[in-house]
């Protein structure tokens, strides 16, 4: 009996373990089914590298959106990653435990604040400030980067804290016993040991920034044009889908699904690079 129960548990769990991958495949199949024939029709070059987006006139170049998505995500990481990782190191290694007890939950709470609230604050507070100090329409790459950077902070911080906390104390003690200062032990030992978790936090954060839709629609301005300055308004890939999906029919709708495919592929590639980076470094160690 026991043997049977064990097997049932094992196979049930094995089946369940495919739920995520099955969902992923289902999503991929549906998005590709809608978008791939379109990409074939228009041609990859005219879709990915043309700058003219006018679906009603049959022009489907999403190059400006690809560039916009990359700019905005990069900007968000520039703001969110250093702050989040610095915070995680400080709280784990230098701050009194009491501080960690208060600050970590406070910040995790912020992960629950809806992106639309951040977007709204971006429109009400940030955009007017940018318009007044730096010029341009205010709704811009910069506004989107700052809002997204703040939004991904809890993700980076929370996961990095866990990663650093899971480094065995004996590592630190070893470094300290060799005469290292606290910072040297952090810098040379702890961060290296926690590297994979920290990288994971950045990957997750990148995914969120690249995939965020509502907040970006609110603060980025949604202009279809390759940006030349951080004060230029832009439209990201996600914004393009959400803005036009409601009113798109026929080719225009297929074009949005094709945009979805591009987003999907970019994220797959990013994930691939990041995951192999973790693995490569782990092997060297």
């Amino acid at each position: 009996m026991k043997f049977n129960g064990e097997n049932i548990a094992k196979y049930a769990l094995m089946t369940v373990a495919f739920s995520a991958v099955a969902s992923l495949l289902l999503i991929a199949v549906f998005i590709f089914k809608e978008g791939l024939p379109f990409m074939m029709k228009v041609g990859l070059k005219d879709f990915l590298f043309a700058s003219d987006w006018d679906p009603l006139a049959g022009k489907f170049g999403i190059y400006p959106m690809i560039v916009a998505s990359l700019w905005v995500t990069f900007g968000a990481m520039l703001i969110g990653a250093p702050l989040g990782i610095a915070g995680a190191i400080f709280l784990n290694e230098f701050a009194p435990p009491m501080m960690m007890k208060i600050i970590k939950p406070t910040i995790e709470l912020l992960a629950g604040i809806p992106s639309v609230v951040f977007g709204f604050l971006g429109v009400m507070v940030l955009a007017p400030w940018i318009r007044a100090t730096l010029g341009g329409p205010g709704l811009s790459v910069l506004a989107a980067s700052i809002i997204l950077g703040i939004m991904v902070l809890p993700t980076v911080l929370s996961i990095s804290i866990d990663a650093i906390a899971s480094v065995p104390n004996s590592y630190r003690e070893g470094a300290l016993a060799l005469g290292a200062t606290r910072w040297q032990s952090v810098y040379m030992v702890t961060i290296k040991a926690a590297r994979s978790g920290i990288i994971a936090s950045i990957i997750l954060a990148m995914g969120r920034a690249l995939g965020e839709t509502m907040a970006v629609i609110m603060v980025a301005g949604n202009t279809v044009k390759v940006p030349h300055a951080v004060t230029d308004p832009v439209r990201t890939l996600t914004a393009n889908i959400a803005l036009e999906m409601a009113n798109a029919t026929g080719m225009a709708r297929e074009a949005l699904f094709a945009t979805g495919i591009v987003l999907f592929m970019v994220i797959m590639v990013l994930n691939g690079i990041a995951l192999s980076a973790i693995k490569g470094k782990a092997r060297k160690k």
Partner: protein, 265 residues
């Protein structure tokens, strides 16, 4: 774990109770489509349900094209669209003009420009005029705000202006209300919204000297006007047809009129 299991149970039970318990006694009508007409449809639905307790009318947004798609696929019984003309795929649907709507060209109240010619409107939105000083304003770059491609309001607007191509650096927002908010927040912005959405936060400019107001729209003097369609499949449910009849009734038309739309008849 136990708490989680209990929670799971509670939620599932509640769900199933909901599935089996209710829903049968009421007749459901779903309306989807044009975000510009959605607020008005919600008002009509509220009014209608207060006198017809057996009917449940759900109003969804989605946009004009979604309205047509939903009505075709059956995701919604009634589709809403506010286009100058309906696309060919809507031909199989029974369509009905339920109201007319003026499209107002709006600027920030702080902007001293309050009148533009039809040609100036066209040149501003197509990006030929880029500075307010060229149309009698101060020396600031014009921030053009438009609806997204495919929007009923935008395609109507562009069609009435003679098929313009929108300025390349125009900002894009996905609803009338949002355009109003964006214009209200930016002194140098210009956009276009439904006549019914004009409020104290924005200023409608006159086009060719004619103000966007009910009288001028009714008389046909104001040029930027588009119709609002409701569409349903042939052979729609009685509840659905009764609601459509209600929308054309004097009472409903008066309600639309009070809310800022122009009566269909």
């Amino acid at each position: 774990m136990k708490i989680m299991v209990a929670l799971t149970g509670v939620v599932l039970c509640a769900g199933f109770m909901g599935l089996t318990g209710c829903g049968k006694s009421r007749e459901n009508v779903t309306i989807a489509g044009s975000t510009a007409f959605q607020p008005f449809a919600e008002k009509l639905a509220d009014q209608y349900m207060s006198t017809h307790p057996g009917v449940m009318i759900t109003v969804q947004g989605g946009g004009s094209s979604m309205g047509i798609q939903s009505a075709l696929s059956g995701a919604a019984e009634i589709g809403m669209a506010d286009l100058v003309e309906l696309p060919p795929e809507a031909a199989s649907l029974k369509s009905l003009i339920v109201a007319r709507d003026g499209i107002a060209v709006v600027v920030n109240p702080a902007n001293k420009v309050s009148s533009l010619t039809y040609d100036q409107v066209r040149d501003v939105f197509s990006g030929k005029i880029k500075n307010w000083k060229d149309v009698g304003g101060s020396d600031y770059a014009i921030a053009v705000i438009s609806r997204e491609a495919g929007s009923g309001t935008r395609s109507s607007f562009e069609k009435i202006l003679g098929g313009i191509k929108l300025a390349e650096d125009a900002l894009v927002q996905d609803s009338n209300g949002t355009i109003r908010e964006t214009v209200a927040n930016d002194q140098n912005a210009i956009g276009y919204v439904s006549h019914g959405l004009i409020n104290e936060k924005i200023k409608a400019v006159s086009v060719d000297g004619i103000e966007c107001m009910e009288a001028t729209i009714m008389k046909g003097e104001y040029r930027l006007v588009r119709p609002v369609f409701l569409m349903a499949k042939e052979g729609a449910s009685p509840a659905c047809q009764a609601f459509l009849e209600y929308v054309m009734s004097n009472e409903a038309q008066e309600l639309l009129h009070q809310s800022g739309l122009i009566r269909a008849k």
